[in-house]
Amino acid sequence: MSDVSQPAAHPPVTDWVNDFDHTDPQWTDDPFPIWEELRAASPVVHTERFLGCYMPTTYEAVREIANDTEHFSSRRIIVRDVRPEVARNAAPPITSDPPVHKPAKQLLLPPFTPDAMKKLEPRMRAICNELIDGFITDGKVDAAARYSKYIPVQAIAHMLGIPESDSDLFINWIHMILELGIKDENKLLQAVQEMSDYFRAQIEERRSKPTDDLISYLMNAKDKEGQPLEESHVLGSLRLLLIAGIDTTWSAIGSSLWHLARTPADRERLIAEPGLIPIAVEELLRAYSPVTMAREVVKETTISGCPVKAGNMVLLSFPAANRDPKMFPDADKVVIDRRENRHAAFGLGIHRCVGSNLARMEMQVALEEWLKRIPDFRLDPAGTVTWSQGTVRGPRQLPFLLGKAM
């Protein structure tokens, strides 16, 4: 049984290779040198923290695990201090293993194809411009709190057919689940409960008044026997879409702007050659990948020659894989026009991010609209950049000065 009473404080890390902790402030601030140290030590490292956890450090080891659904289960996808019982239909298909994974995923794929995203693009451009209107004359802005944060939440709200004006509510749930929930079970359960109640009410409304959004789409979907989905499945998938759609892209857009604020040469190049933005987005995704997933070892095996034991969690770090110099020349540099870029920011294998086409579109549009209207910006030396902790990495405070430096 899990202990839900007290969130445990973690002792600071002194030995990264044998005792790593991805919630340590040093990791949160600047994980890149840590990953280098771990990778130099072994393709798979282990910590006793989090009840035992491995981390693959190379692209190859990450790929091996991502493609091995026999030894690694997705039923737990966040590395936390506790291992409570797994709820059925927690968040399908991300929490599903074969054979139930495929039908659950196929249900969600059609609304997220590149063509479907094209239709959403005009609304995205409008959202970005409305946000920019709100601060452009101020001369300064927290670009995370007032720009990157609201783009994905409004996009997914639009797709789900829930009010964009409830954005702050959604953002708060996600903070409780993905950050506070790592160490505080109560916060996580409370957010999941509130989110489920919210969606239950939305489902109820649609029973009498059907809509053409994603909620109605899931309510009308049939499983492979031609039966409607169980309500727990509909709710689980709705929770997934809301949770997965927000923090991740918020982080990716924020990191991209953070990079451009500090790298005028790249900024100028993208303004001069806007056609390069899609290629640059891939490189920014590689270099600042926001998402680290997790797996649970369910059967003993070896990965890149390293034995792994059942019962441990795995921190499946796509970000660390994307910094592997064996896979990417100058892996630690942002090469804005990198042409060969087989990055794994959206995962590999059957759990490839369902929303990857949406995220790419949002990032491209967010950067295009920003650079069109705010070609000059830099970090505000009077402010501090802060980064999120845990599963998703991105700037949470991003103080910028707008306009040319005097």
Binding site: L348, G349, R352, N357
Partner: protein, 69 residues
């Protein structure tokens, strides 16, 4: 004469990242789930060889083959 190229997507490996379609829209098509297959019989028209190689080297699942005939 340059060799004639053909592209081929392995449907068992493809996971629908859609990188190929973005980089070489002439050479790939996506189905309703966003998974890719080669357009037509996969023959690469002259001038598009670079795009074929580019798609191959960007597919995260290593699902694309470029065959020289």
């Amino acid at each position: 004469m340059a060799e004639r190229l053909k592209v081929h997507v392995d449907p068992d490996k493809c996971q629908g990242h859609a990188r190929c379609k973005a980089l070489a829209p002439e050479l790939f098509e996506l189905d309703e789930y966003g998974n890719a297959h080669e357009a037509g019989d996969g023959t690469v028209p002259p001038g598009l060889e670079g795009k074929a190689w580019l798609a191959k080297s960007n597919c995260p699942e290593i699902a694309i083959d470029v065959i020289e005939e």
